[in-house]
Amino acid sequence: MIYFDKVSKIYPDNSVALENVTFTISPKEFVSVVGHSGAGKTTLVKMLLAEDKPSEGSVFYGSQNVQTLSKKELNELRRKIGVVFQDYRLLPYKNIYENIAFSMEAAGRTDEEIEADVPHVLDLVNLGNKIWNFPHELSGGEKQRAAIARAIVNQPEVVVADEPTGNLDPVNTYEIVQILKKINDLGTTVILTTHNKGVIDSLGKRVITMENGRIVRDDKSGRYVL
């Protein structure tokens, strides 16, 4: 489903972010990408979303080369991928309902769908009671759950979570990982980048380990080894 073919990314100042990275992700897989800060995890995510172009190699989504898509096709691709960030990126002056409705509106969904789906998806991440609150009234874990709700509300094929637990305490981290597992169980491919050893060890899923822009391990049922 997702295929990185010998992808390298070298920035103009000659710093190497990715070097000859090749791997495949199958549908409904749960893949963790681990590594120290600067190992190339976030660059990997950017390549997949076509936010940045590789210097060499290609990224494929299905049969499409992501880098050769037209703007319209790229928009369609992005609607198939839900993204969660470490810093949540909720819009501060919209309440939780509006934040999620906003992404559905942008994807061109109808008002009826929005009214039906938003409460439903918030129940799924246990935020049903905070639907009318604003982001600043929520804890870090709650904000991240709202961000996950926003990422999955358009029923994407893939959810990419880039360091979603980076700012959270162990209890909230655990909850977020459980939600991601639940999403994966419902049939969505999940790509999780993290440097949290506990998270990886508790998952028992595939782990890609990166170091200095290269893949150093790719274990079917991996543990955090660095």
């Binding site: 979303l49 076509a50 936010e51 703007k71 319209k72 790229l74 928009n75 369609e76 691709l77 992005r78 609607r79 993204v83 990126r89 819009l91 002056y93 906003f102 992404s103 509106e105 942008a106 994807a107 061109g108 109808t110 008002d111 926003r150 358009n154």
Partner: protein, 310 residues
């Protein structure tokens, strides 16, 4: 179609929200636009004043052809016909010797001495005249030349033309032509420069408004919103800046032109800007609302482009 109208409604709604939410930025955009539109409106007034003044002066310029007293009426009328045939000529008025005498008596009605002297003469000492008006001041030269050529041609036999007063006015007319010309050119340059400056300032203000919304734009891009959907609300807000600024400017013009009305009427020949404004309000409305909306929308489109790069 249903998808399209839903999208349009959302774009308009979001545009309104952006407008209200970024109150201070909206306010500053509007203030800048008011200045821009006042400049544009002011230029409309200026060109109206200039044009009406010039028309007034133009109408005061003419050529008088004085005929000798012995000239026969049929000769004069045939010359009048020839002159009327010239493409540059707007109007030719014939004043016969008798009419000239009546006019003379009227102007000197209270001047007994002159009237007595006139009566002493017994005969009518006044010649007939042709008053010629050209369509454009620059054409007087050609008409005058035509008349002198004619006079010199018939000089051998018996010239009926006594004198042509154009050559006395020539220097004044020349200067006027030059003033009209350079005033038009200068006006055009001033309009262009001011319009460009105003557009740049407006553009930057709107860019600030969009910069504030960059997080929102990045989230929209990540969920795969169409470019037009992202840009739409900013264009709507830009249109609103323009429309609101135009309406405020239109309202401000009422006291401004009222206050200036008397002064302009005295200074420039006969044009009262207040009554001109009232008479042409529809035109002002269209120009100001139109250019306000255009500047707002175009500035928004260009300013949003920077944040829409994929």
């Amino acid at each position: 179609m249903a998808f399209f109208s839903t999208n349009t409604r959302r774009i308009v709604k979001t545009g309104f929200f952006n407008f209200w939410r970024n109150g201070f930025v909206s306010l500053s955009s509007i203030v800048v636009m008011i200045v821009t539109l006042s400049v544009i409106g002011g230029l409309v007034f200026l060109s109206a004043i200039l044009n009406s003044t010039l028309t007034e002066i133009k109408n005061k310029v003419d050529i008088n052809v004085y005929f000798v007293t012995s000239a026969g009426e049929d000769q004069i009328l045939s010359l009048k016909k020839t002159i009327e045939g010239l493409p540059e000529v707007a109007e030719v008025t014939y004043t016969s010797r008798e009419e000239a005498l009546v006019e003379f008596r009227q102007t000197h009605a209270n001047d007994e001495v002159t009237l007595q002297a006139l009566d002493e003469l017994g005969d009518n000492p006044l010649g007939a005249t042709l008053n010629i008006r050209a369509k454009d001041p620059s054409q007087y030269e050609g008409i005058a030349k035509f008349l002198t050529n004619r006079t010199s041609l018939s000089a051998g036999s018996s010239s009926v033309i006594d004198k042509i007063n154009y050559f006395q006015n020539k220097t004044a007319i020349d200067r006027l032509s030059r003033i009209i010309d350079s005033a038009n050119r200068l006006g055009l340059v001033v309009i262009l420069v001011l319009a460009i400056i105003s557009v740049i300032i407006t553009f930057n203000t709107i860019r600030l408004a969009i910069f504030i919304s960059r997080d929102e734009i990045s989230v929209m891009r990540l969920v795969g919103a169409e470019q037009s959907y992202i840009r739409g609300p900013f264009v709507v807000a830009g249109l609103m800046y323009g429309a609101v600024a135009a309406i405020i400017t239109l309202i401000l013009f009422f006291p401004a032109t009222y206050w200036l009305g008397g002064a302009t009427q005295n200074f420039f020949i006969g044009l009262n800007v207040f009554s001109y404004y009232l008479k042409n309000f529809g035109q002002f409305f269209l120009i100001l609302v139109g250019s306000g909306a255009l500047i707002g929308a175009v500035s928004s489109i260009f300013a949003a482009r920077k944040y829409l790069k994929v």
